[in-house]
């Protein structure tokens, strides 16, 4: 009896070792030895993004419209960010690897070296610049408000019209700080991501959320209950906020090269890529 249980424990321990061994071998892109790691770093350009923020980035099931496989899954990533990432990887002469990462996990992933760059519609704010470096901008957008169609704020045209409205925006973004510019606004707690805010808006928890133009156009196109409000005399923002740039680790040697590559992408081409992304995003089917 005793022997039986001992052998059971032994088998259990062997099983643990086996699984641990499998786990470390399964992912070829994060090898163990330092020599192997250096070699892999030379070849791969690892980019972190959410893959759930169309038209900047999204997830799809096939490789149509030039989508790139997401590491460790059987899905593919497409969108404006992915197109830019493809051009940068090509310019660097490296293989593009898409690492799907939650928004809050992007900065730690970059600073800990899990990824080489963040190309996820991230704005180069002063706060972020304290921990990471940014390339030159690869997109620039204006701020708009998304409200419910048929609701109280449907016909708003200026910031003043949102007096008394319950407004929110994404956590850790400048979208949230500009809300204070609306007089008499009832500022709601910041939310984690866009899906959460859209749920809140649809269920009348909030009256609107602050976002960028491409996201608002997509939201409006996909869900007829949403309406985008544009401002002629809108939020006062700094250039650093409305622009979007590639996030890089402090002192990254890639920065100059990436700036060179970005400079080679003309304004017309950027607009063309963005239009294509808005057209191709999953919800527009």
């Amino acid at each position: 009896m005793n022997k039986k249980i001992l052998s059971f424990i032994a088998i259990g321990l062997l099983f643990i070792l086996f699984v641990a061994g499998c786990g470390s071998n399964a992912n070829s892109s994060s090898p163990q030895g330092p020599e192997v790691q250096e070699k892999a770093e030379e070849e791969a350009f690892r980019v972190g993004l959410e893959c759930g923020y169309p038209p900047f980035n999204w997830t799809q099931l096939d490789d149509s419209n030039g989508a790139v496989p997401i590491e460790g899954t059987q899905e593919y990533a497409g969108g404006y960010d992915v197109e830019i990432a493809k051009r940068i990887a090509e310019g660097l002469g490296k293989k593009l690897v898409i690492v799907k990462t939650e928004w809050t996990g992007l900065l730690p992933a970059l600073t800990s070296g899990k990824i080489d760059a963040i190309i996820a519609g991230m704005s180069p704010t002063e706060e972020r610049k304290q921990t990471i470096d940014f390339s030159d901008n690869y997109y620039k957008s204006d701020l708009v408000m998304v409200v419910k169609r048929g609701g109280k704020y449907e016909n708003a045209t200026s910031l003043k019209d949102f007096n008394g409205a319950r407004i929110t925006a994404q956590l850790n973004t400048f979208h949230y700080t500009v809300i204070d510019q609306i007089e008499g606004v009832v500022k709601q707690p910041a939310m984690d991501d866009f899906p959460a805010m859209r749920v809140a808006l649809e269920s009348d928890m909030i009256d609107g959320y602050v976002t960028e133009r491409p996201e608002a156009i997509s939201a409006e196109a996909a869900n007829p209950n949403f309406k985008m409000i544009e401002f002629t005399d809108g939020f006062v923002t700094s250039d650093d906020d409305t622009a979007i740039a590639v996030g890089l680790a402090k002192g990254s040697p890639l920065r100059e090269k990436i700036n060179e590559i970005l400079a080679g992408i003309s304004e017309e081409e950027r607009i063309r890529i963005m239009d294509e992304a808005i057209r191709n995003q999953p919800a527009s089917e």
């Binding site: 005793n2 643990i16 799809q60 799907k100 939650e102 996990g105 749920v199």
Partner: protein, 242 residues
């Protein structure tokens, strides 16, 4: 609620939902098994009687302190924080590039292990002291007493609590998306973000989570009944008795 959209979400994205559910089940199953083993080992060590001699006593005391620190720290901090600290911390501070899935399994295992250690300890304490005394009286040492007398009863008794841990793990793996593990919650969020539709994908995820947890609790109930054996049976067959 829009029924057409639910059908659309399922037909367009069913592979993503299924892969996510598979990943969730894989991590929580292995995590619970490893956690169970960790809990058993730690429970056995923590219930050891203090030896009289100095060196052995010191070692056992030291191990006991380590185990209590482990239990208190991992029980007292949220799993999402542990995931962040272990996965990104190991890379940033110790320069170890951990595999994502391995890190997820490690986090769920040691987290479950901390809870299971207390559950097992409770199970051992609940066994009548007379049984220990009887086992020692017939000359069994602590390990023999545990494996032959105490643990078989403990495992049966803590099975419902283990089932609880398993169900909790299925739900709690949803926090692992911060270290890029594409489990069911992360996949659902992606589907929602892709379509600008929220209620429908999350409703599908809700049903999937419930199917998983319900199946698990039913299976464990069945195992419990099997372990209990038939209600009426002869305790011991004794050929000497006439």
């Amino acid at each position: 609620m829009n029924f057409e959209w639910i059908v659309k979400v399922i037909t367009n994205y069913w592979p993503m939902f299924l892969r996510g559910a598979g990943m969730t089940l894989f991590i929580s199953l292995l995590g619970t098994i490893f956690g169970f083993i960790i809990g058993l080992i730690s429970g056995v060590i923590r219930s050891m009687p203090m030896p009289e001699s100095g060196i052995k006593k010191a070692i056992l005391k030291f191990v006991n302190i380590i185990l209590s620190i482990y239990v208190e720290v991992f029980r007292g901090t949220p799993m999402i924080v542990q995931a962040m600290v272990i996965y990104y911390g190991s890379a940033q501070v110790l320069n170890i590039n951990m595999n994502r899935l391995a890190a997820a399994l490690l986090i769920v295992s040691i987290n479950t292990g901390a809870y299971m250690a207390e559950i097992v300890r409770g199970g051992i304490v609940s066994i009548d002291k007379g049984q220990f005394e009887a086992a020692y009286a017939v000359g069994m040492n602590h390990i023999q007493t545990m494996t032959n007398v105490v643990l078989p009863q403990v495992i049966r008794n803590i099975l419902p609590a283990t089932g609880n841990e398993f169900v909790i793990n299925i739900k709690d793996t949803s926090v692992l998306n911060v270290i890029s593990v594409t489990e069911l919650f992360f996949q659902t969020k992606t589907v929602a973000g892709n379509n600008f539709r929220f209620f429908e994908p999350f409703f599908v995820a809700c049903v999937l989570y419930f199917i998983m947890t319900f199946t698990v609790t039913r299976i464990l109930r069945f195992v419990e009944r099997k372990l209990d054996g038939p209600e009426n049976f002869t305790m011991i067959y004794n050929p000497m008795q006439i």
